[in-house]
């Protein structure tokens, strides 16, 4: 297999390098990719959508359909990970362990016994490593700032590099950081599985709902200029606001999906300690 693979790879590579001689030179302003469609986007974006960041405008407005289905792909990937890995039956072990947070004393409970519900005890697994104090404290300081930056990236995507995808990934990473630095139970306590699933669907629905709203207001699907009457602005500013709504939807969907995929894969669907 190795030799066949090597032959295939060498032949394909040689063919591609031969084909690359016909390609436009590096950083050529007159290359075919930059001559037909992209000058229109660069010159007309400001007039038509009043968004200075052309990438955001093309992503959410000119190519809105594409981005909607990309978001749907991400949503489906999250759902697929859930269905493949999650073990739905809650098989409670016979012996459970609880740790008293303040003193560090671990107690062991047999089936049928319960502890009074209080914040002093946390449920732990049979194999449990205490999280490192320095990492825990460092992450506790970092996470709020990461989340704040993520919100900035989403909200400021019109004027600087950023947008729903990037901000959503940063938001997801902050929760994943919580799960890595503490343990998976802590992260799931903060953001339950149900909430993640709902947010995942809500994000996609916000996107599709904005499109459907435009349809109800007698314009084409995802033609945000229809929102002008609802938002009391001129049609061009309405397109800019429509892009923001869509980006928020993308951000929520991407954030929830990243956390969902991480939770399922890191714990192989059992939602115990995780990594």
């Amino acid at each position: 297999m190795r030799i066949i693979g090597l032959i295939i790879v060498v032949v394909t590579g040689a063919l591609l390098i031969y084909a690359a001689t016909d390609f436009p030179a590096w950083s050529d302003p007159a290359s075919p990719a930059s001559t037909y469609l992209s000058p229109y986007y660069i010159e007309k974006t400001m007039e038509e959508t009043s968004v200075p960041n052309i990438v955001t405008a093309v992503l959410a407005d000119y190519r809105g359909f594409d981005t909607m289905f990309e978001t749907t792909v991400i949503f489906s990937a999250g759902v697929v990970c859930f269905f493949l890995l999650r073990i739905p039956r809650r098989e409670e072990p016979e012996i459970r362990y609880y740790r008293h947070v303040l003193t560090g004393v671990t107690i062991q409970l047999k089936e049928g016994y319960k502890i009074p519900p209080s914040a002093d005890f946390e449920r732990i697994d049979a194999v449990w490593t205490p999280p490192d104090l320095i990492i825990k404290t460092g992450c506790r300081i970092l996470i709020p700032f990461i989340q704040l930056f993520a919100l900035y990236v989403i909200a400021h995507g019109h004027h600087s590099p950023g947008g729903g995808f990037q901000g959503g990934v940063i938001l997801g990473a902050s929760i994943i950081l919580l799960a890595i630095s503490h343990d998976l139970r802590t992260a799931v306590r903060r953001m339950s599985e149900k909430l993640i699933a709902i947010l995942c669907a809500v994000g996609v629905s916000i996107y599709a709902g904005t499109g459907a709203l435009c349809l109800l207001l007698k314009q084409n699907f995802l033609d945000y200029s229809a929102l002008a009457g609802v938002l009391h602005v001129d049609p061009i500013t309405a397109r800019s606001h429509g892009i923001l709504m869509v980006e928020i939807g993308v951000g929520i969907a991407v954030m929830a999906t990243m956390i969902w995929i991480y939770n399922n894969i890191s714990s192989a669907g059992r939602y115990r300690q995780g990594l």
Binding site: V9, I17, W26, A33, V55, V58, L59, V169, I265
Partner: protein, 131 residues
Amino acid sequence: MTDLISTVVAKYNYWIYITLMMIGLYAMIAKNNLVKKIVGMNIFQTAIILFYVSIGVKKGGTIPILEHAHGHEHHVVHAVDYINPLPHVLMLTAIVVGVATLGVALALAIRIYNNYNTLEEDEILTQVREK
């Protein structure tokens, strides 16, 4: 000789991506371990992303965010001053979708491991044939 050097300077970026892509393809064909195949798939994907981003580059162009945007409505925008935004849009979504599909691939690998207790392709195939 000068011709050759100018060709190399103008085209070397494509050669880098082709090399990277072929590394990924080789890993997908020849490696026995499923996780290594997934890693190869991701290297392949990275090569495509780099290729697209390099298509967007223009000499002397800046990032595709308009300067003098608000308050200078009659400022004329020249397309030569800004790099091509379209490849960036396409790759922006492709990166996130790539991460999501990587998640699905790893989930499948975990299920295969749970069933067969191995991730080596030949061992899985012998087990499948025995059944």
